[in-house]
Symmetry: C2
């Protein structure tokens, strides 16, 4: 009688978890992939849902549909609440327990308010589809309210949006939002002039996109300003309240404040007993295993792994995907009784887009900006978008938005408004 | 000095309200269109959102974007709570009042449980995008639960869906659902066989699609049965409970029950002082005005207007659209001081679809079924879908679903699941 195959449990269906499952497709293991959503989310385009360019389903694909042909995987919808490292089992919120021989943790991160959790309802962040829908709802609803607001001061606040955080997400959000305000809705409203709408991008450090080098930071700020975004660096938010933010003694009246200023690893990392940094990331061994637990691998946003410059690797999709392949290969090595390999990140570059046809890009020594960077961004994102159908639809949506300035998904979901 | 233009207030941005606004585009009036959503919903395709074929934004278009070029309209997001017929004003839930010289009421209807309002949370109906998202969530979630359910009886209930009501909505829902169950998810789950999934369509009367004539009713039932739907006529639901429905002494165990068995006019009709039928519809004068109030017009689902056979006209888009044009023309006649015209409905036919490539259609004396009816349905719906971009995207979505049996929008929105 053959032995039962080794059980691999993967927690998280993001880039890390999904690519780990795929990388094990020819390995004789029984994989259980657990995610609290039934879909894989193409997170790099999430801001486009928040700004009504794409519909949620265009950047989300059911995980079980992506993995349908891979017979050694079963997909479970569930929220993992605890990992019992000694018993080698994970437990979901419904009480179901899944035992493992090898465990891959790739649960990603959430936005963080660093001691100001009370700001969250006032300044929502952008990590999930629900977050994106909520940002879209608030952003579009403010203009609807401005249309019927007789008081000019209150109307000005309703047509002002503040984005906190000058990283890629903040830059992309601000760039998309000013486009909607200045172009998409231009003829839609009768009681305010869309040229008076404001989008303010606040960055606490001395430049936006700090990961891209000084020249590209400057180019990005120039591009944003040309679009109409007010870019302010050295602007540390000291208070967020209903209807505005404070930067020291200065107040900006704004109906909407959006948060793109920080991340923290999913709370599951706290139960692992390892060393955590202030972002909640777990320090992992060179082969990506949890120190002292060779059968547990930690990937992506929740793993603290030093890059070549000694700084932790950033929480981006390419890191998670490369780590997933390394962890899968190390599981195969352990199964074969050979030694595991250390992970090494090959940095292929980074890209951030700034509105309609500008972007900044860094590929090794090459730096691009403006339209060439934007074209590169378009190509890379369409290529990596999971599922052929979505790629095609997204391409059409983009072409349509680009040619007409129209936004396809301007739905305000009902809540209480 | 010229007189100020007459104020026309239109309540509702469905087919009735939107077409009334459009029909007044060359008239010297100041129109205010009020809707509680910022979008016009293409309701005939709502069941496709509920069954994950289309994304919400593909059948919804912002009302102000549709009317952006029509300078005599302003669009207001708001929920009208009361009509003061004597003061000639409507009041929204935020307390804002809009005075009118002419009023067009086209607020549509809701599903009705006829004395069993406690069934609503157990058996959701399908009228709004939120309803469609909720049905999609429940339907897809039940299969996720079935995948991890060890008890065979409970698993069988989780893979059974009951649709109550054999009108067009019920038929379209049941037909789409069996397709997902038998084809779309076929290879996605490991712990149950998609051939064992059940979709049961319950109709209290003696045949489904009673509005289509006996021959087409029979064809429709045959088509549904061939797809795998259990069609039961003369099956009056006597109780709905968590996990099942009762038909007299018989219980069908089903995780999901969906309601397509009745409608009632929006509650605004109750304040109009006119005669209401049991569906809450207002009896209107031949020119569509409210009896005794020549300046108030009532259209679409909430108007009780006898057809040529003496039966009330059905609550379908063509009725609302034709009534909108008639009401607009009567407003112009009143402005010009001439007599109003009586409304006459030109029945151009009806269509209902049954799954992948079958439908039934009635165009005057012509009756179609099977593929020709389905092709007619496709053409008519794409033609009438508002907004060119959506037409194109929906066509691609349909072609894709048709060729591959895949569903693009299989997202389970998070709630508590």
């Amino acid at each position: 009688m053959a032995d039962a195959p080794a059980r691999v449990v993967i927690v998280g269906g993001g880039f890390g978890g999904l690519f780990a499952a795929r990388a094990l497709c020819r390995t004789a293991v029984a994989i259980t992939l657990i995610d609290r959503n039934n879909y894989h989310l193409f997170q790099p385009l999430l801001y486009q849902v928040a700004t009504a360019s794409l519909a949620p389903s265009e950047i989300a694909q059911p995980i079980r549909s992506i993995l349908r042909r891979q017979a050694n995987v079963r997909v479970v919808l569930g929220e993992v609440e605890a990992v019992d490292l000694d018993a080698r089992a994970v437990r979901t919120s419904t009480g179901t327990s899944f035992g493992y021989d090898y465990l891959v943790l790739a649960t990603g991160n959430r936005h963080a308010y660093f001691g100001h959790d009370d700001w969250e309802p006032l300044a929502p962040g952008l990590k999930s589809l629900e977050d994106a829908r909520e940002i879209r709802r608030r952003f579009l609803l403010a203009y609807e309210r401005a249309e019927v607001e007789p008081d000019p001061l209150r109307q000005a606040a309703l047509t002002t949006s503040v984005v906190v955080g000058g990283g890629p997400t903040g830059v992309e959000l601000a760039g998309s939002m000013i486009e909607i305000a200045r172009h998409t809705i231009r003829r839609d409203f009768r009681n305010f002039d869309s040229c008076d709408t404001r989008v303010v991008l606040l960055e606490g450090g001395d430049r936006i996109l700090p990961g891209y080098g000084e020249a590209l930071s400057r180019k990005a700020a120039e591009s944003l300003r040309r679009l109409g975004v007010e870019v302010r660096t050295g602007a540390v938010v000291t208070e967020v309240e209903e209807g505005g933010v404070w930067i020291g003694a200065e107040r900006i009246a704004a109906a909407n404040v959006f948060w793109a200023a920080g991340n923290v690893a999913s709370p599951l990392t706290r139960g692992l007993g390892g060393d955590l940094d202030r972002h909640g990331r777990v320090a992992v061994a060179p082969d990506l295993s949890l120190p002292g637990r060779p059968e547990v691998f930690v990937l992506g946003d929740i793993a603290l792994f030093p890059g070549e410059d000694g700084e932790p690797l950033p929480g981006v999709a390419p890191v998670a995907m490369q780590q997933a392949r390394c962890a899968a290969s190390n599981i195969r090595r352990l199964l074969a009784g050979t030694r595991t390999r250390a992970f090494r990140y090959r940095d292929k570059g980074s890209l951030a887009t700034i509105g309609r046809s500008a972007a900044v890009a860094r590929f090794g020594p090459v730096r691009l900006w403006g339209f060439p960077a934007w074209a590169a961004w378009l190509g890379v994102h369409i290529f990596f978008l999971i599922g052929f159908r979505n790629r095609l639809l997204v391409l059409i949506q983009w072409a349509w938005s680009y040619l007409t300035y129209q936004r396809g998904a301007r739905i305000i979901s009902r809540k209480e408004w």
